[in-house]
């Protein structure tokens, strides 16, 4: 639209984008013509476009230059050219946060928003709200209220949507506009109605009761706007989910009734909401599925796409419902829209029988090269799910994946494939060698550092334990020669593992290591030197501790401890035991449908949950000198979900103490609680030292209080204890509307559920990638063994799960997965006991009448072995 004004610029610019080679300083120079009179709208318009273009390209404007340009632009309000004026609005919005004193245009904008020119009014409102902060909002409040109920739909919509943005910043002011929004909700215009509903919902969304009332009102009175209906369906299903409302609820009836709405949009939204609900019965599902089925054969591509995408998403959750649509899905395989076809096939793959796999895979191969990466990832996810369902098909899949790996494609796509191959290897030991071979081939020509290092790590872990480890050495060493620093470093670490595991490879690994010691990169050289020295000792224990299993401390914690140590230098060497352990982002096995989609890159330096707790607790003066935080439990609920006060507890374990953190929420809007604490009565000789109360607990704002407890020192085996808990506090009644409390209050208390401390609270999970090496390293000095019978347990799976969750230790070597049709199994668990002692458990399980378990425990400390055996027995 703008382009046609300036043909010359377009011709001189290269290619089709006339703005390609803009220079910020030149554009700002040009902006001086804004100061000239009379104003030339055509030229000014063009310059504003350039400024907005630059801003959107991410060009940085300094405050001074931005402010200067902004004030120059304000003069353009002299002109009555409509296009120019609207461009000014856009510029104001873009520069609202980078120029100073933008409020200078407030009166000009209020004049436009209340003026006679309708084309100015809506955009002026939107610009005005961008430059207005909470203090200034009062000044325009009157105009906003009028605009919300204005009879011109674009004005009303603009005011409603702007109000919605202002809610985040000035909730209390916007709240006062509820009546106007209510009036707008009965507008005849479908957009106004939709926007009004949006505003009303956002003003109330923290108050479940009010949302319910609002829904009731609108479902009864009925709305015109299909958009509003879609939104109501979303609100209703969110409410159902939060309240775990049964399907006899009127909310469900409402959603179901929308399946018969005359707008396709609403029908689809309702169907999608129903199939996404947890625990729907087949009968409840049926009408929704038949709607989707109908859409599958719609002439509108958008409807077909929506339907098949939804079916794809719920395929694993409701396989039988989706199979009902198989015929329709089969028809879509040849759909001319490739996205629809891909989704159809992958849906069929997810639900199909084992025999149909080969046929469908062939079908996909015929067009996989034509679809976008995004859909290729969908295909990989389907394959991944399929491999879990039909492990026997892994060779077909592996083949297919290796072909995909050779194709062109972006990072996300390649990562999905690599993750899928890795998960197949882990699930099916017999596929290991083929899988590793494919991955070796892939890293020979792989541009993604992250993937190359990940694969090298896997090769180091798995390769040495294959029948012919030597064949991987070449692939790994090639990386040392050819790749970037990060990859070379990973290759060195992988090589070291081969040397440590295989005595006959050691000499050649040492030779290669020697060469790596001359690398140009510090990290690579350091690693090589380190491994060289460890390997030359030829000691199993050293190899286990420094090559196979590495450090298991929190990186952030280590950084902090080292920093602390350098601040207070001492004669004593730095003690690794003072460093908090890393908490489990460790590869916990997820039983999710699509593991590919969920395995995100670990964000390197994001602090873990425990790092955050450590920080918070150390800020409380009462908790000084407890040492590093050893473990934080998952939150334990101490109240029912829908009670006056909601309390949950997190147990923090230190070397000799525990801190109990009670997160409390007051759900009564007519009460302010003060001096809140949870009094604890222990069943054993645990001693409560300190209570740290929460000073204030206003309505719906969570607060925390703490109790500090000393663990019994004389009896190290006393690891479990039951606490009876009572919340004590001062109540001050208050006005539900203003939150203003009465002057005086009264003491009250509230009984909570008992809190258990168990052995798992004293053990931190640690993953030992090579369990056997760790087992040898700890040695049998303090080993003890005992046999137990679990009469009530029926399957090995159940027994394994019980042991894992009871001890709270980390399963290693994926031994928490019991292969099918087996009646014996070995489970390996690793952890560190409070105080820093390694503890390893090997449990041999046999299925007979119930399950018999032979438990062998090794640790560096006698007491720990006793504690574990005593608590299992």
């Amino acid at each position: 639209m703008i382009k046609k004004f300036d043909k010359k610029d377009e011709e001189s610019g290269s290619g089709s984008n006339p703005f390609q080679h803009l220079e910020k300083s030149a554009v700002l120079q040009e902006a001086r013509i804004f100061n000239e009179t009379p104003i030339n709208p055509r030229r000014c318009l063009h310059i504003l476009t350039k400024i907005i273009y630059l801003l959107n390209q991410g060009e940085h404007f300094g405050t001074t230059e931005a402010t200067e340009a902004f004030f120059a632009m304000t003069r353009l309000f002299q002109s009555n050219d409509q296009t120019l004026r609207r461009m000014c609005y856009l510029t104001i919005k873009e520069m609202a946060n980078i120029s100073e004193d933008v409020i200078i245009v407030t009166s000009s904008l209020t004049k436009d928003m209340t003026g006679k020119e309708d084309v100015y009014r809506g955009p002026a409102i939107r610009a005005l709200c961008r430059i207005t902060d909470t203090t200034m909002l009062q000044a325009i409040e009157r105009y906003m209220k009028q605009a919300i109920v204005d009879k011109v739909p674009s004005v009303s919509s603009s005011a409603l949507v702007s109000s919605l943005h202002m809610v985040k910043m000035s909730f209390d002011v916007v709240k006062r506009w509820v009546n106007e929004a209510q009036e707008a909700a009965s507008s005849d215009n479908i957009m106004v109605q939709y926007h009004a509903l949006g505003l009303l919902y956002h003003l109330r969304k923290n108050d479940r009761l009010a949302v319910t009332k609002m829904l009731n009102k609108f479902t009864k009175s009925g709305l015109k706007s299909p958009f509003a209906y879609c939104m109501m369906i979303r609100i209703a299903s969110k409410l159902l989910e939060e309240t775990e409302g049964g399907h006899d609820s009127p909310l469900f009836d409402f959603i179901e009734s929308c399946l018969r709405n005359k707008h396709e949009m609403v029908v689809y939204e309702a169907a999608s909401a129903i199939v996404h609900m947890p625990n729907c019965t087949a009968r409840e599902l049926a009408p929704a599925v038949s709607v989707l089925q109908l859409f599958c054969s719609s002439p509108k591509a958008a409807l077909r796409y929506a339907a098949v995408r939804t079916l794809n998403k719920v395929a694993m959750k409701h396989p039988s419902a989706v199979t009902a649509c198989n015929l329709d899905l089969e028809n879509l395989i040849t759909d001319s829209n490739r996205s629809i076809a891909t989704l159809a096939i992958t849906t069929l793959l997810k639900t199909g029988s084992e025999s149909s796999v080969d046929r469908l895979m062939k079908q996909i191969s015929s067009f996989v090269s034509e679809i976008s990466d995004e859909f290729k990832v969908v295909v990989v996810q389907a394959i991944s799910a399929l491999c879990q369902k039909y492990p026997r098909k892994h060779s077909v899949m592996m083949n297919f994946l290796s072909n995909m790996l050779r194709d062109d494609g972006g990072f996300e796509y390649k990562r999905a494939i690599v993750d899928c191959i890795i998960s197949i290897i882990e699930e099916n030991p017999e596929s290991k060698e083929t899988g590793l071979a494919h991955l070796c081939e892939f890293i020979e020509d792989c541009e993604h550092t992250v993937l190359a290092t990940k694969i090298l790590h896997l090769l180091g872990k798995e390769g040495p334990r294959t029948p012919t480890p030597s064949k991987y050495i070449r692939f790994i060493f090639n990386r040392v020669v050819l790749e970037s620093e990060a990859v070379r470093a990973a290759a060195v670490s992988a090589l070291a593992k081969f040397g440590a595991q295989n005595d006959d490879l050691l000499p050649s690994v040492l030779v290669l290591m020697q060469r790596c010691m001359m690398d140009s990169d510090d990290e690579v050289r350091d690693r090589a030197t380190f491994y060289m020295n460890v390997l030359q000792q030829k000691q199993k224990a050293l190899n286990a501790a420094y090559i196979f299993n590495g450090l298991s401390v929190s990186v952030l914690g280590l950084e902090k401890s080292l920093h602390q140590y350098t601040l207070e230098p001492s004669e004593k060497p730095f003690d690794m035991k003072t460093v908090p352990l890393a908490t489990a982002p460790i590869t916990e096995h997820k039983t999710e449908i699509a593991p590919v989609a969920t395995s995100k890159l670990p964000e390197k330096l994001a602090p873990s949950r425990q790092d955050i707790y450590q920080e918070q607790l150390s800020a409380i003066p009462e908790f000084q000198g407890l040492g590093p935080l050893f473990k934080s439990s998952e939150p334990v609920q101490l109240t029912e979900a829908e009670t006056e006060y909601v309390v949950r507890c997190i147990k923090h374990t230190f070397a000799n103490h525990m801190i109990f953190q009670f997160d409390c929420t007051n759900t009564l809007n007519d009460q302010l609680l003060q001096k809140v604490l949870v009094q604890m009565e222990p069943s054993e000789s645990y001693e409560v030292l300190h209570y740290v109360p929460a000073a204030n607990l206003p309505y719906s704002q969570p607060g925390s209080c703490y109790s500090l407890v000393r663990l019994p020192e004389d009896d190290p085996t006393a690891v479990s204890c039951t606490f009876s808990c009572t919340m004590k506090y001062l109540v001050r009644d208050c006005d539900p509307n203003t939150g203003e409390p009465d002057d005086d209050g009264y003491d009250d208390e509230y009984v909570l559920e008992d809190l258990e401390v168990t052995v798992a609270d004293h053990i931190q999970k640690v993953l030992k990638p090579n369990f056997a090496a760790a087992w040898d390293e700890v040695g049998d000095e303090c080993e003890k063994e005992e046999t137990f019978a679990l009469a009530t347990v029926r399957t090995l799976d159940e027994a394994v799960n019980n042991i894992v969750s009871f001890l709270g230790m980390q399963p290693c070597e994926r031994s928490d997965k019991v292969p099918e049709n087996k009646n014996s199994h070995v489970l390996f668990l690793a952890g560190v006991f409070r105080g820093g002692h390694d503890v390893l458990v090997r449990a041999r399980l046999a299925l007979a009448d119930g399950v018999t378990i032979q438990v062998t425990v090794r640790s560096t400390d006698d007491n720990v072995v006793d504690v574990i055996l005593a608590s299992v027995g």
Binding site: T37, T74, R75, Q78, I103, S107, S108, A139
Partner: protein, 186 residues
């Protein structure tokens, strides 16, 4: 200027345009004055305090005025200078009933007159001693004494008493301004 504009100007159909800054402390009556000068069908019904500035237009017999009606509140006064270069004339409004802030008005006026963008330009200054209807209002003479207007030597200036609500005294001022501008231009 497009050809038509030139032609129109030459034929005397199109009026000469001038940019005027309207300055003065808040609540002195700037917006009310400008509103009075606008054609009656374009006048606003109620006057609210200005935030930032607002651009208004009105015509006299021979000129077409574009007025930058600035906000007079303390925190916006330092933003006036952004528009000094524009002004071909200045209307400075004083609330003649506000004796307390007369010194503040003088201070702002002095700052204005010493600003590099104003100092060396011979632009006409029109003062309105507004709100003359108030019982204890100072006379125009008194106001000009308090503001030391006689010290302004390098610019033509004029002061008249006005009542913006009723519209009294405004035309006298604007006529003077029109004459000054025409004299300057030709």
């Amino acid at each position: 200027m497009g050809l038509f504009d030139k032609l129109a100007g030459w034929l005397g159909l199109k009026k000469k345009e001038v940019n005027v800054l309207c300055l003065g402390l808040d609540n002195s009556g700037k917006t009310t004055i400008i509103n009075q000068l606008k054609p009656s069908n374009a006048q606003a019904q109620d006057i609210v305090p200005t935030i930032g500035f607002s651009i208004e237009k009105f015509k006299t017999s021979s000129l077409s005025f574009t007025v930058f009606d600035m906000s007079g509140q303390g925190r916006y006064r330092n933003l006036w200078e952004h528009y000094y270069k524009e002004g071909q004339a200045i209307i400075f409004v004083i609330d003649s009933g506000d004796k307390l802030r007369m010194v503040v008005a003088k201070e702002e006026l002095d700052t204005l007159l010493n600003h590099p963008d104003i100092k060396h330009r011979r632009i006409p200054l029109l003062f309105f001693a507004n709100k003359m209807d108030l019982r204890d209002a100072l006379s125009a003479v008194k106001v000009s004494q308090l503001l030391c207007l006689e010290n302004i030597k390098d610019k033509p200036w004029h002061i008249c008493a006005s009542d913006a609500v009723k519209g009294e005294g405004l035309l006298e001022g604007v006529d003077w301004l029109q004459d000054q501008i025409r004299a300057m231009k030709t």
